[in-house]
Subunit: 364 residues, 2 copies
């Protein structure tokens, strides 16, 4: 176990085991509607063939970010986190997210809190242009824990995406040396690494850490609750402008090395990232408070870069213009190189370059 | 709040609120792939139009039945419960379940336990002929509670179903007076009403109630863990035999009155249920131990009847033969009548007939 209390090795072993069992189910729809589509490099995406159509599913949740709402009493931004986690994974394989079904586990239902959560989910889903097709609110009593005396809850969702006619999943196979890498700026921590964040802040400030002020005067609780930007609308606009990214990495748990590596393995190449967006000041403050080095920080958090896209060099300008017109911040941050490793220059002046191997993904 | 500790009124208010917010998202895919299909009576099923295809989604979880695995150390049957809850809701609207994506929330991951859970999920998914397309294992620490010192977990899933070419959702609108109602026998409690069950048993036997023996000598923990039968394969076979049920009610939380009522409201008719399958002996024992009357028992548990199907009288024999050939138990248990209420004769000789109104579904 590492210092966060999150047991990464056991977690990886569990994910690998779950994937092995899931893969053994794939043959049961051979010759039928809903056959999983094998990837050329031997694995399977969550993509099914249904007549001439390809559909994708993706599941995720907001993790322990829920505690921030319990601490601050602000519940209407978490819907943006939930939608972002689910639909941006779908966008990263190149499909259009169309629907989302959510599961809200609660200790005891509180209609006022559920109203705020679902209001936020509505706002986020509408922004992402996905319909909320269903939902389950499960009352689980002491099986759901949390902070304080209000409703305690865990929240997850599964999204459904559809590929435009003839489109195949984006999996990184067509990436080439010298493809440009651009980054979509994040607004904050999105939904990953909150266990570590809470550990740092409670060690520094005690149990009521969320009420402590950051250097800019905002309480930590409010700052950490910053909702995730939803990138799927801008990815759709890039596709509509005629540009097909050669690879997309949604920067979630594992940070840039943990997520970009999956894309790079498909093409056997590497990435030089020379000019990433700077981490948000609150990320640097957490690093300082917890004496967390850059290597760990970039492995755990998005550090200001919520999504990375590889595009052909000739597509870069048009992609950047499309993103800017959609109101998102992006820039060229690096390029694809022949050496199979991720080389990353942290933002701080004088910081050492970080290198991460593109080792095999343990799920395969 | 009622005697179970489960707050039904607050739960209903939350579900209604969530549905209202979800319904407001439906227009956001107007004119696009994935448009929700409105039902004729004014609501929406979880059914989307995608080109010429109709797809359905459904989310559910195993609820507090997870505690039985924590108490007994037997983890490989819960996959059958999870698959049954999700795919049988899809089957009940008349589509073919094709895929399932699951979310496993854990306090701390234990690879050995995850292996058993996922092994069971594989076996159940293969039986139901659905692929497990994805999964998320979320390590949530103290946000997940449970029994004992092993891995604590909550487990939910979202299924994807597809309608055969030209088929429309089964919603009960075509039900007519004198349609036969047949019941598919359940194997036990499936996944509903476990909070009440635990309350009765812990009051009767104390904290280690799962080790106490039932009248037939089996421990309560083992008996209650009886896996749910998965009905979707037999519903597919009924469809393949050329029979289209006019209405299907998957008997989950709310029992026969709570689930059959949704189907009956669509046609404005009622049901006489004269010859239901008897409840399992363990259900009667729980009733006795907790002094639970029939009205409550039939509102809370399936009482031996896991799914009810309305079919044209001329289709009954063929449907029953198809079900028997598939290895499931079924029989004719009643019929559709003009009076808009559910009239139900409990199994016990001499028991009073129960009547339930077909009041408006609060979700609409």
């Amino acid at each position: 176990m590492n210092r966060t209390g999150v047991d990464i090795d056991r977690g990886n072993a569990c994910s690998a085991c779950a994937f092995e069992w899931a893969a053994r189910t794939f043959s049961c729809r051979e010759g039928r509607l809903g056959r999983p589509i094998p990837l050329e490099q031997g694995g399977f995406a969550n993509v099914l063939a249904v007549n001439g159509l390809r559909v994708a599913t993706s599941s995720d949740g907001i993790g322990t970010k829920a505690e921030l709402a319990e601490r601050t009493g602000v519940y209407d931004s978490l819907g943006f986190d939930l939608v972002a986690m689910v639909v941006d994974d779908l966008s990263a394989v190149g499909c259009e997210p169309v629907a989302l079904s959510n599961v809200l586990d609660v200790d005891r239902p509180d209609p006022a809190v559920v109203d705020r959560l679902m209001s936020g989910l509505h706002d986020a889903a509408t922004q992402a242009r996905v319909v909320v097709t269903g939902g389950e609110i499960a009352e689980l009593g002491r099986r759901v824990g949390g902070f304080g005396n209000g409703m305690r809850f865990n929240w997850s969702a599964t999204g459904l995406g559809i590929f435009a006619d003839g489109a195949s999943p984006i999996d990184g196979r067509s990436i080439e040396v010298d493809d440009a890498i651009l980054s979509l700026r994040s607004a904050g921590f999105r939904c990953n690494g909150f266990t570590r964040i809470r550990g740092v802040l409670s060690a520094a400030y005690g149990e009521a850490w969320h009420e402590e002020k950051r250097s800019d005067g905002t309480p930590w609780g409010t700052a950490l609750l910053t909702p995730s930007l939803i990138y799927s609308p801008v990815l759709l606009q890039i596709a509509e402008s005629g540009i097909r990214p050669t690879g997309v990495a949604h920067i979630t748990g594992g940070g840039i090395p943990g997520n970009l590596v999956r894309v790079l393995r498909a093409c056997g190449l590497g990435a030089d990232l020379e000019d990433l967006f700077a981490p948000h000041p609150m990320m640097c403050e957490i690093q300082d408070l917890g004496s967390i080095d850059d290597a760990e920080a970039y492995r755990r958090w998005n550090m200001g870069n919520g999504m990375l896209l590889a595009v052909r060099p000739g597509d870069l300008d048009c992609a950047l213009r499309t993103i800017a017109a959609a109101g998102y911040e992006a820039k060229r941050v690096g390029q694809i190189v022949r050496e199979p490793r991720i080389s990353l220059r942290p933002w701080c002046p004088g910081a050492s370059r970080l290198e991460f191997p593109t080792q095999p993904d343990k799920r395969r």
